[in-house]
Amino acid sequence: MARRGTRGTNAARIIVLGATSAIAIQMCRVLARDGAELMLVGRAALRLEAIAADLMARGARACHVSVQDLSLAADAQRLTAGWVANLGGKVDAVYLFFGILGDQEAARSDLAELEAILVTNFTAAAHWCQAAATILEKQKSGGLIAITSVAGDRGRQSNYAYGAAKAGLSVFVEGIAHRLAPSGARAVAVKLGMVETPMTEGRNGASVLRVSPESIATPLARLARGKSKPIIYLPWFWRPAMLAVRALPVSLFHRSRL
C-alpha cells in the first residue's frame, strides 16, 4: 500500500522495523511532520494500516506497510532489499525498534522463554542489522539506528536475559559502525532508559526516571540524518547513571534487588 502526499521530493526515506512500538509511533510522527516517506514493518496488519493513515494525515509524503514477523530473520537480506526498492531504491535510515522484554522469572526454568528473549532481541535483530548494513555500505550513505537498552550495561537478577541480548546487540551495532565508517554510512545503538510503554506498564521502578515516548521522539528522529557516536544514551542522564551502577561494588550490588 502506498499513499501519496503533497510534500516535496527531498523527503527522508525511512524503514521502521517494529513500527507498532509506542516509541516508534511517536518518532514516526516527528518524521511525518517533516514529510518523510516511511516503510512500516510489523506483525499486526490492522495496526500498521491505522498508524500509516495517521502518519499520512500528519504530513508523511508516503507510507508503506509490510506485515512481517521480525523474530524470523531468515529472509532478512531479500526483504530489506525489497523495502528499499519500494522506497525508490535508496534509504536514509533503517530503525530497529522491535524487541520483547520477556519473563525473566519464567526464563530461569523455561528454555523456550529464554530462547525467545535471546532470539528476538539478539539473533533476529542482528540478522536485520546485518542486512541493513550491507545495503547501506553499498549505497555509501544512510544510517542504521538500533534501539537497545541500559539493561545491557550490568547484569541484574531481574532481567539478565533481556539485558544480555541487548548488550550483545549494542556491541554488534558498534561493530557495524566500525565496519561502515570507511563507506560513509553510519550505525548507532541507542541505549534507552525507562520509557512509559506497554513494555514497562505495571512494572515498579523509579517513576521520576521514566520518560514519555513523546519526549524522546525528536532526538530519535534526528538520528535519521544526523551524525552521532556509535553508542548513545537516551535520555542523556542514563550515561552517568549507568556509570554509577557499573561502579557499584559487588558487595553492595549483590545486596540490592535491582
Binding site: A44, R47, A53, A57, R58
Partner: protein, 430 residues
C-alpha cells in the same frame, strides 16, 4: 484526577493503545465498573469512578482520515484538540467550536458536548459530529449517525453509553490564524445584554468577563469581547505546550476574596483602557489559560469548585443579577466569571447542557461547608428560573437538581451501558 482537585484519589487505570484491544478490555466487566477518561479536564465527578477502573484513552489518538478539501476529520477518541489543531490549521481548517482549553480529547469533547464562544452562531460540537464509533460492553461495534437515538444519547452522554472509539467531525474553514474584533467595557448587566444582542448579529464569537467582586455602583461591570476570524495569512499554529507551568499547589490564600477583588479591579481597568478594536492569534483568544500549565494548582491543595449554569432566555438577566448578588453578599468572589448568551441552535444530545439563554461560569476555592452553602443558594436561583448545571464542571449536583435541569434524563438512562458509570452518574441516577 479531576481538574478541580477536590479529591486526590488515584484510580486503577488501564491504557487503550489500539482500537482492537477495546473489546478485550470491556469483556466480562462487572456492572458499573468502567469509565473512559481523557486528559482529565472535567472538574468534578464526571471523570472519576470510585471502586471502578478507568480507561485511559489518550494513547488512542490516531487520525483515521482528514479530507483537506471538504474539511472532514475522523480521528480516534483520544486525539487531543491540541494535536488536531496542529494538523488542520495549516490546511485552513478549525474546529467547528472549541472549549476554553485545547487540552481535551475529541472523545471527551463529544461526551460533554462542549460549547464555545461561537455557540450563538454554531451551536455545540455535537451539532457538527457526522458520525461516531461506539463499542458497547456486550461487544457490539456501532457506527452512529445523527438521527439515531443512541447517537443522541452519546452526544453529551458523559461517556456512559459505551466506549466512544472514534469521531468524525465537520470542520469550519478559516482564512487566517488571527481573530479581530471589538472590546467594550460595560458597567451594568443590562448594558451587557444590549451589547451581546447587537454583537451577535455580526460577530461569530462573543464572550464577557464579569467582575463579580464588584459591589455598589460598580456591580455587574465587566468586559465584553466580540470577534470574527480575520483574513489571512495562515500563520503559525499555537505553541504545542505551555511556556509556563505552576509547579506545586499554591498556598490557599493565593486565590481568596482580597486577592480576587484586587485582581478584578485591576483587570477591569487594564482591559477598559484597551477598549476598541483588537486583533490577536487564536491561541490567545480561545485558550488564554492554556498558556499556564496546571493553573488549577493556584487554588491550593483543597482544590476548587466550578459552577456553570444556564438560565433560559425567557428569564432575562434577573437571575444572573440575583446570583452575583448572592455571591458578593456572602463575601465570596469568583476569579474567572464568564458570561455568555447561548443561541437557539439545539444540540442533538439528550443530556446536552446548552439551551438558549444566559450561561454564567464561576469558580470558587474550596472552603468546605461555606462554599457548598453558597452553591446551594445559587442552585435555588437556577432551579427557580428553570435552568440547569453543567455536569463537566460539577462535583456536587443533587439528583433533584439534575432531574429538574434535564427533562430527558429518564430517556437518557435507558441508553446507559450497564458496564459504564461515573461518580457523577452514581450521584444523580436512580
Amino acid at each position: 484526577m479531576a481538574w478541580g482537585g477536590l479529591k486526590r484519589d488515584h484510580y486503577p487505570m488501564a491504557t487503550l493503545r489500539f482500537a482492537d484491544e477495546a473489546r478485550g478490555l470491556l469483556a466480562s466487566r462487572p456492572l458499573a465498573n468502567v469509565l473512559a477518561v481523557g486528559l482529565g479536564r472535567s472538574y468534578g465527578t464526571s471523570n472519576t469512578l470510585s471502586g471502578g477502573a478507568l480507561l485511559d484513552m489518550t494513547k488512542l489518538d490516531r487520525i483515521l482520515s482528514f479530507d483537506h478539501a471538504a474539511g472532514i476529520l475522523r480521528a480516534e477518541a483520544g486525539l487531543s484538540l491540541n494535536d488536531a489543531l496542529a494538523v488542520i490549521v495549516p490546511c485552513g481548517w478549525f474546529l467547528p467550536t472549541t472549549p476554553g482549553t485545547r487540552f481535551v480529547t475529541l472523545g471527551g469533547a463529544v461526551a460533554n458536548d462542549v460549547h464555545g464562544k461561537n455557540h450563538h452562531s454554531a451551536g455545540t460540537l455535537g451539532c457538527h459530529v457526522r458520525a461516531l464509533g461506539l463499542l458497547r460492553s456486550g461487544g457490539e461495534m456501532l457506527e452512529l449517525r445523527p438521527g439515531d437515538p443512541l447517537f443522541a444519547a452519546t452526544i453529551g452522554g458523559l461517556g456512559l453509553t459505551g466506549l466512544i472509539l472514534w469521531v468524525e467531525v465537520a470542520l469550519s474553514a478559516i482564512n487566517g490564524t488571527n481573530v479581530s474584533g471589538e472590546r467594550t467595557a460595560f458597567h451594568a448587566l443590562d448594558e451587557f445584554m444590549a451589547l451581546a444582542a447587537e454583537a451577535e448579529k455580526t460577530f461569530e464569537h462573543t464572550v464577557a468577563w464579569i467582575d463579580c467582586a464588584s459591589t455598589g455602583r460598580a456591580f455587574g461591570r465587566g468586559i465584553f469581547e466580540a470577534a470574527n476570524w480575520a483574513q489571512g495569512p495562515l500563520g503559525e499554529v499555537h505553541a504545542p505546550a505551555p511556556a509556563l507551568s505552576v509547579p506545586v499547589n499554591a498556598p490557599s490564600m493565593t486565590i481568596s476574596h482580597p486577592t480576587v477583588r484586587t485582581f478584578n479591579a485591576l483587570h477591569f481597568r487594564v482591559k477598559k483602557a484597551k477598549s476598541g478594536p483588537f486583533r490577536q492569534h487564536y491561541s490567545g483568544f480561545f485558550y488564554p489559560l492554556d498558556a499556564i500549565g496546571k493553573w488549577n494548582r493556584l487554588y491550593g491543595a483543597r482544590g476548587f469548585h466550578q459552577y456553570q449554569c444556564v438560565i433560559p432566555e425567557r428569564e432575562g438577566v434577573a437571575p444572573v443579577r440575583d446570583m452575583l448578588d448572592a455571591i458578593t453578599r456572602t463575601g465570596n468572589a469568583s476569579f474567572l466569571a464568564v458570561l455568555k448568551r447561548f443561541g437557539a441552535r439545539r444540540s442533538p444530545g439528550l443530556l446536552s447542557f446548552p439551551m438558549e439563554g444566559l450561561t454564567l461560569a464561576l469558580d470558587f476555592p474550596n472552603r468546605g461547608a461555606l462554599t457548598l452553602e453558597l452553591l446551594g443558594r445559587l442552585d435555588d436561583i437556577v432551579r427557580a428560573a428553570g435552568g440547569r448545571l453543567y455536569a463537566a464542571k460539577d462535583a456536587r449536583m443533587s439528583r433533584a437538581m439534575f432531574e429538574s435541569g434535564y427533562p430527558d434524563a429518564d430517556a437518557f438512562a435507558r441508553f446507559v451501558d450497564p458496564a459504564f458509570s461515573s461518580d457523577f452518574w452514581q450521584a444523580v441516577s436512580r
